[in-house]
Amino acid sequence: MAHPWIGTITPKEMVALAEIKIVPIGQVFGTSFRSISTLYFPTTSSEVRNEVEAFQMMLEDSMNSLRNQATQMGANGVIDMKMVHTVRVDQSANGSWLMSTTIVGTAVSDQSRPQPELFTAGISANDIVMLRRAGFEPCGLVVGNSSYYKVAWRQIPKVGPLGFWANQEVSELTEGPYIARELAMTRMGEMARACGGSGIIGVTTESEVQTFGTLTAGNMAAFCRMRLTGTAIRRNSITHPEVNIQTTISVS
């Protein structure tokens, strides 16, 4: 007897998926853990490469694990994907950083999709149906990350004891999150281009800024983490646009 499939989709979503010939197969996930002995902070403003590279390897490992599970199930797509990434100090190993990435999604068989490659998407089943009807299709979950270390030593004369009374932009610190975001956006864009996307929708941003030292002492630096997640899409050659939008008032 076949095992029942498990999926995160609701009954309504299942009905909607059936209409566009997509059948849920089962829940799939990929997880990766990695330990970084020390975060090497440079003396000048630059990326913290060992953390960036560790994240990219974890992303690749967990995505590969998820893809393998889906392929073994006979799926050619994974939808409704969610990613959880954590970074914490490893209490059991003195000073180490423990990072983990887990990605969960619902594997599906898209019977109208002739090509054998597996597509991934961070959007829900309802959104897939809407996109398909409008003539688009998802082609990949895309992620961009950056960990950037920005020193703000030249700020001392402006925000020293005299500057305490004045409104002013701390421009050197502003640059930190900006550069981190640019690096993450560029990486996410490259990932979307690589999977054939012409655009990315539903981008979510997670950012964190930690600092060391103080501005008044003139030894301040900011450590900026930025992570962006979205779904790459492209025009669909299979179906024709068919979306009927009406203004409605719900009676619920």
Binding site: K12, I123, D127, M130, L131, A134, V159, G163, F164, W165, A166, N167, Q168, E169, V170, L173, T174, E175, G176, P177, Y178, I179, R181, E182, L183, M185, T186, M188, G189, A192, R193, G197, S198, G199, I200, I201, G202, V203, T204, T205, V209, Q210, T211, L215, G230, V243, I245, Q246, T247, T248, I249, S250, V251, S252
Partner: protein, 273 residues
């Protein structure tokens, strides 16, 4: 840093280069990014607009110091000025990014203020939204030729256009106000009695009115006939408990010339609970 069309001085080089690449300017395939949901994306498309990129402006700002008079309700001008200037910096940078992308406007704009434990007098101000461009052209820019900005969602943006209005600008009014402490005698007189705290009520009224009137003035300068989705938010931002920011924000709109009548809505019974 006021907005000057064609000036991108607030943006780092990497941002300028990436935005040019997104338009296909350096031989790369054009690519748009967006934080719109699928429904919002499709509604913008149906309204004739294509998303061209996720745009953001940010500023880490040192907020100056002002000593309030303990028993006096008063506006904290230094703090109000800081909240205005830092938001303006973030908005201007976001608009500059939209300009590089050749956008007509930015929808779904979110203004965020984050205080960090490490920076006692510092805050990060961010403006984030999706830049869009009309496929058929048309003039959607503001009176001073900025891209239009709006905090409306994709659904509200579509409905607004269908109703015959166009967004002009995200308008805001801020007022940081010190609410006077009560004197000892006044506190004793009120002890055990139901009584209105007249000085508190008055102070909050004054602060809210200042924020609303400033937002309204911005809308008038834009040539708007109204403001939709207006809200007034209170926030303390970690100051003394008697210091509050009233922040009014909304989207200034005007009617589209020659627009057709609002389509009659259809009533539906939702299958949702």
């Amino acid at each position: 840093m006021p907005y000057i069309q064609g000036s991108f001085e607030g943006l780092p080089e990497a941002a300028k280069q990436r935005l040019v690449e997104m338009r296909g300017g350096t031989g790369k395939k054009p690519l748009f990014t967006s934080d719109l949901s699928v429904n919002e994306f499709l509604l913008c498309q149906e309204a004739g607009f294509d998303p061209v990129g996720l745009v953001m402006g940010s500023s880490i700002y040192h907020i100056g110091f002002q000593l309030p008079k303990f028993y006096q309700s008063q506006e904290m001008e230094v703090l109000t000025q800081a909240m205005y200037e830092a938001r303006e910096l973030a908005m201007t940078r976001m608009e500059e990014e939209a300009d590089i992308l050749g956008a007509d406007g930015v929808v779904g704009v979110r203004l965020e203020v984050t205080r960090y434990t490490w920076g006692e007098a510092m805050a990060e101000f961010k403006a984030i939204g999706t830049a869009i461009k009309h496929r058929a052209g048309g003039n959607y820019r503001t009176v001073d030729n900025r891209p239009f900005t709006s905090d409306l969602s994709g659904q509200d943006f579509w409905t607004l256009l269908k109703a015959g209005y166009q967004p002009l600008s995200l308008v805001m009014g801020s007022c940081v106000y010190h609410v006077a402490h009560q004197g000892m005698m006044q506190s004793m007189k009120q002890s055990g009695r139901n009584v209105e705290m007249a000085n508190f009520t008055q102070a909050i009224y004054d602060a809210r009115e200042l924020a609303l009137s400033r937002m309204q003035s911005e809308a008038e300068r834009e040539g708007a006939t109204g403001i939709v989705g207006a809200s007034v938010n209170e926030n303390n931002h970690g100051w003394d408990s008697h210091v509050i920011e009233y922040f009014a924000v909304g989207t200034a709109v005007k009617p589209i010339e020659g627009a057709s009548a609002v389509p009659e809505p259809t009533m539906t019974i939702s299958l949702n609970d």
